[in-house]
Symmetry: C2
Subunit: 381 residues, 2 copies
Amino acid sequence: MKFIHTADWHLGKLVHGVYMTENQREALEQFVSIVAEEQPDAVVIAGDLYDRSVPPTDAVELLDEILFRINIELKTPIVAIAGNHDSAERLSFGSSWYKHSQFYLSGKLDNSFKPVQINGVNFYLVPYAEPGIVRQLLGDDSIHSHQDAMKALIGKMEETLKPNEPNVLVGHAFVLGGQTSDSERILSVGGSGCVGAELFEPFSYTALGHLHSPDAINHEKVKYSGSLLKYSFSEAKQKKSISIIEMDQKGQFTHRYRSLTPTHDMRELEGHLQELLDPTFYEKERLHDYLKITLLDEGALIDPINKLRQVYPNVLHLERKIDINDMKKKQSFNASQSEKKSEIELFEQFYTEMTTSEFNAEKKDAMVTVIEKVLNEEGIK
Amino acid sequence: MKFIHTADWHLGKLVHGVYMTENQREALEQFVSIVAEEQPDAVVIAGDLYDRSVPPTDAVELLDEILFRINIELKTPIVAIAGNHDSAERLSFGSSWYKHSQFYLSGKLDNSFKPVQINGVNFYLVPYAEPGIVRQLLGDDSIHSHQDAMKALIGKMEETLKPNEPNVLVGHAFVLGGQTSDSERILSVGGSGCVGAELFEPFSYTALGHLHSPDAINHEKVKYSGSLLKYSFSEAKQKKSISIIEMDQKGQFTHRYRSLTPTHDMRELEGHLQELLDPTFYEKERLHDYLKITLLDEGALIDPINKLRQVYPNVLHLERKIDINDMKKKQSFNASQSEKKSEIELFEQFYTEMTTSEFNAEKKDAMVTVIEKVLNEEGIK
């Protein structure tokens, strides 16, 4: 049994104010070609099909079209779940009709305990849910964290799970061991958003979504496919791919990647303005990529973003590298924070480091008055 | 061939700040019962399934559930189109999958020229579209009004329409002869939003949505079903129903109504506050109806809305009937505006009419100062 594992399409995503929909369409065209070529028994999409609960209409049309081509035209079963970016209710509309053509779309947890069977493999669908939802669903007041919730859900699945059959869990969660990047929203503080990989032990394979790198976790049986595209500059160095899994009737599997090559890559570029605008430099560059450019120049530059965009039309973000002297100031200021100083001493230090003028007696008197007033009002003094 | 004609469900509708979803659920439960009892060959929904392009999630879940019960559980084909309140793109998602169970949902015009055939009847689906969309679709620059658009669309349908078969057009439009009520948004000014009923001559029956009264047009073959519920007080006196049509193979049909009885009716109530709060009066009333109350009392009333809501919990709107003397004052004040008077004369007249106290010399002096100041600042003097 062969299936493709993908996740985190984030259709309708805006990156630095630019809609990724056309780029997503191109990547999905490649994806459909791979499905046509590989002829898998199923395509598994582990959540975050959309980037938000109410995606733009062109993203809705794109998803409809791509799923139609895979499921109806290529006659390939689809197993998909809602992620934290999807609206479970909106995504689920019509899902009862999809089952006829073996398109299993699970927005809510209700159906998680009864697996979907495709070619001898049992797929357990666990759409993203807050711990409170699972607590209510299972009537178990001890559930507070995502770890508690997943443990309870899997515990319930194990009541009927047949260990000698190939079982695949499809989930959308932050599984411990993974590394986050900027485009994954922090779900909760203090680690309660994390789920331990050991929970998935009963399954032959766990197809995850949520973290955007296929390398987010290094585990034999618990894997992220990674996102469809790079969705933030923190992902610039990641290689995006989809996973092809071939599983036998004992649940043993082989795993390989197939990469997607977007027309516009997302990457970082660093240099001096003059150098970046030099044809001998940029003629070797892929000029239409989505770029974060870091300028190394010191001193004032006139309208660098527009100059750069004349060569690189898709500059999404421009940064100036903070110069060495600034860095030193910053470091010495940060370091000094830990010493015990009075408020006025701290301010004097701050003022001296941040300006070029003298912190004279008059200025000091004025600040002393202000500090006194604030401390009095706060009842500290 | 028997079909049910309904329209304008407006799921997710807010009326005076109150969500109608629960009321809509009750009405739709009755609707499903009627479908189960009548066993029609099709259910036709002529647009505005939702009240807005992004309806609340409970409205999405309600529509999904009701359509599933009709189409899958009761095995009844459904023919539905998007209205002006629906988002064509969002509503259409998944519609390719629905066809398998004879659920034909048309959001966009693309499929309007190829009818859906159910039990020997050809249904032409014409979802709501702005004239500009039709102009583009047909490449006909002469299309500017809804009349032009519908005429061109029907013209194109006639190229392949078989006149000796029963043909039904399902549309969402403001067909001339209908009466509007408050809850139908004005589509455009100057009559260009209207469509002449004569255009539908080629069809055995035209199942319309948009106007909320089944009596909005009196035509032998072109009919509105009316909305599912009363959605504004201007509809308070309308009788809401669905239409049952039985059509033979020549397109001849009989037409009858079946009414829906909401738990909470929407109606208007008029009287003096004391009378409305009197148990001998209200014990005969359906207290939980959605009410617009018009109070006939003169003079000041202390917190009438909360007093009324203790008896009638669903008062949505409260009005005071402007009394005859107020009316006269208003009229005389309006009339006097046309005469040429000084600012202070106008204000004196206004003050005298609006208060019971004298406009004495002191007040006059104060106003003169204010008026002088304003006129100076505005550079009039």
